[in-house]
């Protein structure tokens, strides 16, 4: 698409042997500019990932006088027979499946609202964005108090005659409670992204469609939504990845409980790796998590590209 269109003339030019030297110099400039980021990426991303691959097949421990030993697939055998692992995987998947559509949908709704040409939208934009700039740790602490059996939420529910449950203490409601707070915290960020997408849609399109007699809904389906295509792919992928890595809220509010109902893969990896000192086992969990995120991302890229080709 746009990226391709720009690069094609350049490619043609170099084929003609028109400016080889200049091209090479710009390549070295590009490489030099890439260096700082590349060094950081390699040191803090690529090398740890390679280490994880290696550690996952050993019995390495955080604190031990005995050197790590190669144990083959032992860690994975143990992992796949562990109930907590399957529950954590299920929780991670449920969390993602709920968060992705609900959070992006809500964010789009908010973006449409604050995009309306009425007074005071800046105020609402700020209000919706406030939770995003608040640290997740602080947000989790606040909601921890609100979710208490006699906390703010249950007090308000009791005013309208509903006896609220012990939100975080009941295995049936704990994950739901964490989902709600996570959406509340992050929805503002995606609202801003949607908003930037909305503002790139030319106003003439709306005027033209209005002249053609399109109603509000038809305008949304035929003008707004197609105009947001690129934005929606970006949002889909960022929300999915953020949802998979759920950790902070769980660590602060429930520590994976009650009865593993809020345990996630990342929480489990950190818990086994640090509290239980099993570095090798935690690396195996991270590896499974890596494979899962890789697979889902590939699938999403494949699906979204397919649709682009049809257009």
């Amino acid at each position: 698409m746009s990226v391709m269109d720009v690069s094609q003339p350049a490619a043609r030019a170099s084929k003609k042997g028109y400016s080889h030297k200049r091209n090479r110099r710009s390549t070295s400039v590009a490489l030099a500019m890439l260096m700082p980021a590349a060094v950081l990426m390699i040191t803090f991303l690529i090398i740890p990932i390679i280490l994880t691959f290696g550690l996952a097949f050993t019995n390495a421990r955080l604190i031990s006088p005995v050197p790590a030993r190669f144990v083959g697939f032992d860690n994975f055998v143990r992992l796949f027979s562990n109930d907590t692992f399957w529950k954590s995987l299920l929780n991670t998947v449920i969390f993602t499946i709920v968060i992705v559509p609900v959070q992006s949908g809500l964010a789009l709704g908010l973006a449409l609202l604050v995009n309306a040409k009425v007074r005071g939208t800046t105020f609402f934009r700020t209000v919706y964005f406030l939770p995003v700039v608040t640290s997740m740790v602080v947000v989790s602490m606040l909601w921890l108090f609100m979710y208490q059996p006699d906390g703010l939420i249950n007090v308000m529910l009791s005013k309208i005659g509903i006896a609220g449950p012990d939100w975080l203490g009941d295995p049936r409601t704990a994950l739901f409670a964490i989902i709600v707070l996570s959406i509340w915290q992050a929805v503002g960020f995606h609202m801003i992204i949607w908003l930037s997408g909305l503002q790139t849609i030319p106003g003439e399109l709306y005027e033209a469609s209005a002249i053609d007699g399109a109603g509000r809904w038809q305008q949304f389906v035929n003008v707004t939504w197609p105009g947001l295509r690129q934005t929606s792919i970006f949002i889909l992928i960022t929300i999915t990845i953020a949802a998979f890595s759920l950790f902070t809220q769980v660590n602060i509010m429930t520590q994976g409980g009650p009865l593993d109902s809020t345990s996630t893969l990342v929480y489990m990896a950190v818990f086994t790796g640090f509290q239980q000192q099993q570095t090798g086992y935690a690396a195996a969990i991270s590896l499974v998590f890596f494979a899962l995120v890789l697979a889902v991302s590939l699938l999403q890229r494949y699906l979204t590209r397919e649709k682009a080709a049809q257009r």
């Binding site: 990226v3 690069s7 990426m41 803090f44 991303l45 690529i46 740890p48 990932i49 280490l51 994880t52 019995n59 421990r61 955080l62 604190i63 031990s64 006088p65 005995v66 208490q148 059996p149 012990d166 975080l168 203490g169 295995p171 992928i237 990845i241 998979f244 890595s245 520590q255 994976g256 409980g257 009650p258 009865l259 593993d260 990342v266 990896a269 950190v270 818990f271 790796g273 640090f274 509290q275 239980q276 000192q277 099993q278 570095t279 935690a282 991270s286 998590f289 890596f290 995120v293 890789l294 991302s297 590939l298 890229r301 590209r305």
Partner: protein
């Protein structure tokens, strides 16, 4: 196409790194013993007390006195915040830059001794014989660290409450029996005067769980692991006594005798009259006395059949294998173990002084003093957390099992799983033999 692939690879690496980067960021800087100017050798000392004014001041006083007392060594104190202290030590050990002298949370001593961080303390047997057993941390028959103080758990309540519901005031020699205790709770609950008859601080997390609740398990006759050889927990953590404890523990919440998840400040709830009895440490003595004066009672742990039990062990001092001058480190540890320093540190932290002589110097802890009860309880009922390098794993496994049981999991199945996990871990480490 290429660009797109690169983007894809970048996004996926970003995602995976979210996990991995957590592993990568625990490394910190460290310093080591260096010869200082003027001929004196510098010994680095690490403490977890940054931000903890009282105890840090007392330790600084000990260090200053030591430096003034001789010219051969110079101790250099470096304080860390408690939250990141253990990580700093582990990172320093990985980088072979351990400090010379350091303080260690007692349950970690065996683990760190096994890992080769700590060197055994020698030549102090006479001094340490006068210390409370729970403040001398041993592993494999050797002493690795000693502490100035301990804390004691007790049932905090009020004389007026016990009188109203017709319960006797227990003494250190005659604690409540399990039946007496449950009868009292039932009476209080039936009266409806309190939101909860008891509060066991179930809202706290981490090490509080094994510290606070494994003594109750031991009082029922169970334990965390078989302490004869530390090889298995089978029959100990999942035997009939342990299941009885688990059923009692879950029932306390289920029957409304205590909150399933206490608030962040259970002592405040007790003082505000929300609960009648509070399972808590000697640190609550100051605020509760302020509120209730002489009415407050610190009752010894309930005897559920195998005698009352409380946990023991707090922060202790030892020296590392990375110390360039073990003689210097031992010299400091000997100097610092004097009664007057035990008294000084305990006084500034309001904890139980470890020696009789020091107790006599700390107001309230002298025989017959108002805090003497904690020292009595500590002497009589303390059972140390298992001194095995596998303890950190045992502690977290027990915590998870107890939390699940409280949330309604089947006691027998949960404890069986915990036993299996603990046994696997002990075995996969070759039972921590050297």
């Amino acid at each position: 196409m290429l660009k797109r692939t690169a983007k894809l690879v970048a996004t996926t690496f970003m995602a995976a790194s979210l996990v991995v980067s957590i592993t990568a960021c625990s490394k910190g800087g460290a310093t080591n013993t260096q010869p200082a100017a003027g001929g004196a050798q510098t010994l680095t000392l690490w403490t977890h007390n940054a931000g903890n004014k009282g105890e840090l001041g007392a330790i600084q006083q000990v260090v200053d006195d030591y430096n003034a007392s001789q010219t051969k060594y110079k101790v250099d104190l470096q304080a860390f915040p408690q939250d990141s202290y253990n990580q700093s030590v582990v990172a320093a050990a990985a980088a072979k830059k351990l400090p010379c002298i350091l303080d260690i949370d007692q349950p970690n001593v065996a683990n760190w001794a096994w890992a080769g961080y700590l060197a055994p303390i020698t030549g102090m047997d006479d001094v340490l014989a006068k210390y409370l057993p729970s403040t001398v941390a041993k592993w494999n028959g050797k002493v690795y660290a000693y502490g100035y103080y301990d804390v004691a758990l007790s049932w905090v309540t009020r004389k007026s409450i016990l009188k109203k519901y017709g319960a006797r005031i227990p003494t250190v020699d005659q604690p409540w029996t399990g039946d007496e205790f449950m009868a009292l709770l039932k009476k209080i609950k039936d009266s409806g005067d309190f939101k909860y008859p008891a509060d066991m601080a179930t809202g706290w997390t981490g090490e509080w769980w094994p510290y606070g609740y494994s003594p109750q398990l031991q009082s029922f006759g169970g334990d965390l692991i078989n302490r004869t050889d530390y090889k298995t927990a089978d029959g100990i953590l999942n035997g009939p006594a342990a299941v009885k404890w688990a059923t009692w523990f879950a029932g306390m919440a289920k029957d409304g005798y205590m909150p399933k998840k206490s608030s962040a400040d259970p002592a405040a709830d007790f003082m505000n009259g929300k609960s009648a009895l509070l399972w808590n440490g000697s640190w609550t003595a100051v605020p509760t006395r302020q509120k209730f004066g002489d009415d407050v009672v610190f009752a010894p742990p309930v005897d559920f059949g195998a005698g009352g039990k409380i946990g023991g062990g707090s922060w202790t001092w030892g020296y590392s294998t990375g110390c360039a001058s073990p003689e210097g480190a031992l010299d400091y540890l000997k100097f610092a173990s004097a009664d007057k320093y035990v008294a000084l540190v305990s006084k500034d932290t309001n904890n139980i002084p470890t020696t009789d002589a020091a107790a006599a110097m700390v107001p309230g802890f002298e025989p017959g003093g108002k805090n003497d009860v904690f020292r009595q309880i500590s002497k009589k009922y303390t059972m140390l957390r298992p001194e095995t390098p596998g303890y950190p794993f045992i502690a977290t496994t027990f915590t998870k099992a107890a939390q699940d049981i409280l949330a309604g999991a089947d006691p027998q199945a949960t404890l069986d799983q915990a036993v299996k996990d603990i046994d696997d871990n002990q075995k996969s480490n070759n039972y921590f033999q050297q």
